[in-house]
């Protein structure tokens, strides 16, 4: 049986891991490779690396950091930020990314999702959706969550599945950095709408939030601050998830038995 993935997220800017509240007020959290190796050692199932500044500054993705991570890590690495076309995605894949996440550029040109899926396969193609809640359902935000659109999250999710995407990284920008837990309603709605795996993101405070995310239908639970601040560990998260009856991958470090 497929295990729930526990996925630390590294928000990288200029080669350093940073963290801010609701995409603002960024603080330095350390060297990406050092942090990544520590998480792999704790039993992380995958890493998501987002070059969060790429899209705002309209520059290409940070292939140098990706190559450093690849040389060190033997778990899957998903990279996003600044991927505007097939060539940018190819550079990231060649640098060592296993999956590439697109966001703003796909919103501007949905055909990009189909182009990526055709060039590299759907299993490489992640669509990152920044969602915010309105009185009439969830809407999509673009440009590192600085721009709010009228597009429905569920319609967009259906579209990207049709276009050949292999996974959705669903971030609640209402919750991101607030430590109030994942937006579980968003996760439930998405997992009922598409058959793609969904990575839950935005708002984790503690292990109970990861358990709730898994129960709301997420295939992977992503967290950043909790791990970076040392308030939780990946192996601790897996023990809590396993105790709640959720299947996780055992690893030497965590001591979780399958």
């Amino acid at each position: 049986m497929l295990a729930l993935r526990v996925v630390p997220c590294l928000d990288v800017r200029a080669g350093r891991v940073v963290k801010g509240v609701r995409f603002e007020g960024l603080r330095d959290m350390g060297d990406p490779v050092e942090l990544a190796l520590a998480y792999e050692g704790q039993g992380a199932d995958e890493l998501v690396v987002l070059d969060i500044s790429a899209s705002l500054e309209s520059r290409g993705p940070d292939t140098e950091t990706v190559a450093r991570l690849r040389a060190a890590l033997s778990i899957p690495v998903t990279v996003g930020g600044g991927v505007t076309d097939v060539d940018a995605a190819r550079r990231l894949l060649e640098a060592g990314a296993d999956k590439v996440a697109v966001n703003s550029a796909a919103l501007a040109r949905p055909q990009l999702v189909a182009d990526l899926a055709r060039a590299f396969g759907g299993q490489c193609t992640v669509v990152s959706i920044d969602a915010f809640r309105t009185g009439s359902g969830y809407r999509v935000a673009g440009r590192s969550a600085t721009e709010r659109t009228e597009r429905s999250v569920l319609d967009w999710a259906r579209d990207v599945e049709q276009l050949g995407a292999g996974e959705i990284l669903a971030t609640s920008i209402d919750r991101d950095g607030t430590r109030s837990g994942y937006d579980l309603e968003l996760l439930r709605a998405l997992s009922d709408t598409v058959s793609l795996p969904i990575i839950a993101s935005g708002g984790v405070d503690g292990y109970p939030d990861l358990i709730a995310g898994a129960r709301a239908g997420a295939s992977a639970v992503l967290a950043a601050s909790m791990f970076h601040e040392g308030e939780g560990t990946v192996d601790g998260a897996k023990l809590a998830l396993a105790a709640a009856g959720i299947v996780v991958r055992s690893s030497r470090a965590s001591g979780v038995t399958p």
């Binding site: 199932d45 033997s74 060592g96 793609l196």
Partner: protein, 212 residues
């Protein structure tokens, strides 16, 4: 022992993860798509992401399809990964008109409705009877298609995602994994090391080897 592998560049696969994994084992990785070099290589790796039809076209255009067919037939060392495993079969529902390498009579099919697809992440693998290289444990997948039967002459390891499917096949120095050993942590690294030793060791160096 000269620890060197020849990693095929098929134009549709990202090679960095495979290259890095072998380099961590202290192996030298040569990357190319030259049929003569591929033929001469002692340990050959066929990676794979991307689509079945596109990959087969790429193999045909470079003449690597016949190199691979010969190698499969003569039981020389080969590691096929993910789509690489599926290419050894007859066909795939992903690209209905394309023909595979035909080492065995299997067709890759999508996962059934009711489970998340593609299958992304870690699943348990159980090594079946006769497996020498494969051992049970957690392995990392990224696939939308899979084989459901074990072909004659190969030992199999299995996983379950909406039903049992082939996690990997082995036959002497030939190993074909649906999962990504290069992304499967310590278990994957151990498997690559065992394959490398089998491929480059005295038994693997004898063309033919022995079927398991």
């Amino acid at each position: 022992m000269n620890r060197e592998i020849y990693l095929l560049r098929t134009g549709v696969a990202n090679l960095a993860s495979v290259e890095a994994a072998f380099e961590r084992l202290g192996a030298r990785v040569r990357i190319g798509s030259d049929p003569d070099e591929a033929r001469a290589a002692q340990a050959l790796v066929l990676p794979g992401v991307g689509r079945f039809g596109v990959a087969m076209n790429a193999l045909r255009e470079t003449g690597l399809d016949s190199v691979l067919k010969d190698r499969l037939e003569s039981r020389r060392p080969l590691l096929a990964i993910c789509l690489g495993l599926q290419l050894l079969g007859q066909s795939s529902a992903e690209s209905p008109r394309a023909r595979g390498l035909g080492a065995f009579d299997l067709s890759a099919r999508p996962f059934p409705a009711g489970v998340r697809s593609p299958q992304l992440g870690w699943n348990r693998m159980e090594a079946g009877e006769g497996c020498r290289l494969l051992r049970s444990g957690w392995v990392a997948y990224a696939n939308g298609f899979r084989f459901e039967r074990r072909p004659v002459g190969w030992s199999a390891a299995w996983s379950d995602h909406g039903g049992r499917f082939i996690a990997a096949l082995e036959r002497g120095p030939q190993l074909a994994c649906q999962f990504h050993p290069e992304l499967s942590g310590a278990l994957g690294a151990d498997l690559l090391e065992r394959w490398l030793q089998r491929a480059l060791g005295p038994a693997g160096a004898l063309a033919g080897g022995t079927a398991c």
